[in-house]
Symmetry: C2
Subunit: 314 residues, 2 copies
């Protein structure tokens, strides 16, 4: 059984289960289910920000800092979906190779999947595996600050949003409700001009959104390649976990993440049934043609399909 080997920290077994889960292999479900009772110990940290914000180097340095505290770290790097991304992003991954010899670090890249929400499920499965292996910290690094990224990081224990000076981030912060999910802001590349402007914008935004002083979140400056501010970021992450553990917020976020796992399974399963039913429906009743000819409306077809999918439960 893979899960027994994974609990003992077997990297090959872990990689195999991650692959099975990502391929939606039916064997993955039972293994993940058996593994689940050994999870719940990892501190899950989401790190998000636009391309060009220097997240990879930042994560690299944070991993080094956490290792110096004797904490083990799993990293899930979410890569953009296109097959044409090649160079830049893979290059970033290569930088992480410095941890390749270190058993206390496990790095896994995930490509974005074509279907809505599919990546949330894949990410959560990998979190389950890394947590089950016993990693103290699991970092989820996403590119971009769109709705998908927010979905992925919003159930982390600690969400770090990375900005850089001079990139017109203000609108990006406001977009997709990123401000509401940030537990820590990092202004990276803080040796660049414009850093004070970003800090001021963040301060203004925080006053608008968080009316109580105690709700305002830390804003840290970093220069990742020079190791500036990294120790403070590690401190802030650990402090945040302490804070939410004490307030009961941690249990709430754990519940939200578990609920999200359930929902993503149910959603995918429904989508599969839908695809299959729609194909059958189309062959049997030529639905696509009749839709195009406006003989039947998509709203009617939706009702019919839904009742057919539900009737499967009989």
């Amino acid at each position: 059984m893979l899960h027994e080997r994974i609990i003992r920290g077997d990297i090959r077994a872990a990689a195999r289960l991650m692959r099975l889960a990502d391929d939606r292999d039916p064997r993955a479900r039972q293994e993940l289910s058996d593994l689940f009772e050994h999870t719940g110990k990892a501190h899950v940290i989401g790190i998000t920000g636009n391309p060009g914000a220097g997240k990879s180097t930042l994560v690299d340095m944070v991993v080094q800092d956490l290792r110096s505290r004797n904490l083990t770290v799993g990293v899930i790097a979410i890569d953009p979906s296109s097959p044409f991304t090649g160079g830049a992003i893979l290059g970033d991954r290569i930088r992480m190779q410095r941890h390749a010899e270190d058993e206390g670090v496990f790095i896994r890249s995930l490509a974005t999947r074509g279907h809505l929400g599919g990546l949330t499920r894949s990410t959560n499965d990998v979190v389950t595996v890394m947590d089950g292996m016993g990693y103290d910290i699991v970092i989820i690094e996403t590119v971009g600050v769109g709705q998908d990224e927010v979905e992925i990081v919003k159930t982390a224990h600690t969400s770090v949003v990375v900005l850089v000076p001079g990139m017109g981030d203000e609108i990006q912060i406001m977009k997709a409700g990123i401000l509401e999910i940030a537990d820590i802001f990092v202004v990276n590349k803080a040796d660049r001009p414009g850093v004070e402007r970003v800090m001021a914008e963040l301060s203004t935004l925080q006053h608008i959104v968080h009316h109580e002083d105690e709700d305002r979140v830390p804003v840290l400056k970093t220069v990742a390649p020079s190791n500036v501010g990294i120790r403070e970021l590690g401190d802030a992450m650990i402090a945040h976990l302490g804070k939410i553990s004490a307030s009961g917020e941690k249990a709430k976020r754990d519940q939200a993440r578990l609920r999200e796992i359930i929902l993503s399974y149910v959603r995918e399963s429904t989508q599969e049934r839908f695809n299959q039913r729609f194909r059958e429906f189309d062959e049997r009743q030529d639905v696509s043609k009749r839709l195009l000819a406006r003989e039947v409306s998509p709203y009617e077809v939706a009702d019919l399909l839904l009742s057919e999918i539900l009737a499967e439960g009989r």
Copy 2:
């Protein structure tokens, strides 16, 4: 009945149905279904690009060009989700007010909704209403080039991707497969330095992705406020519709959009059932607590919930 008034071009009836649909009011479904047989005539155009690409002004000028050709135009402007967006984006909308007196133009803003895929459904409902009203062209303008935006514009007849010089767009193009969905590229603000670099990057990327010359898509330069390149963009949009009508691609995209409408309904309906069942489940069996205590796994709960949801069909 709203749909009868909408077919006659009644703006107030249209606005009311759009609101009902966006609120997920059950009355909307039948009205949309009745309206559907009067649709299928509009040319649906998606326009997407990063914040700061000048899309609003570009759309404004394109609308003016299309009106000068005696075509009527509906515009669906997708706004970011946060309640804190205020100024900038609403300001852009205000610019469109120049068309406020023109009955041949109908502008509707949609906010992004919290749930995955919800916006795709709302957008498609508004397309149905505008199409039913008889607008020749329906433009969907989205902010950002993430997965959500790709979902929304990929079933348009014509997808326009807007870039600007000097914004590190290359990675944005590659991200989320935007290159694969673009039917027309626009390099806006083409009076700025760096325009030739963006053109060269696009050319290189096209060679990588589109192996056949005939698959390569037009790349146009515009300076929207000065009306440079706008006429050519209008020509390119219309020419693209002609091309896909002749090749049979138009029918394929229509089918894809109709299928997407059906899927989004089924997905939402399932999600509602899920939420309701999960609440009941939680009250009855204290699932959230048992999940946290690792007494039951989310994978097991998902299976149970799914079979309960399906059993509703009995």
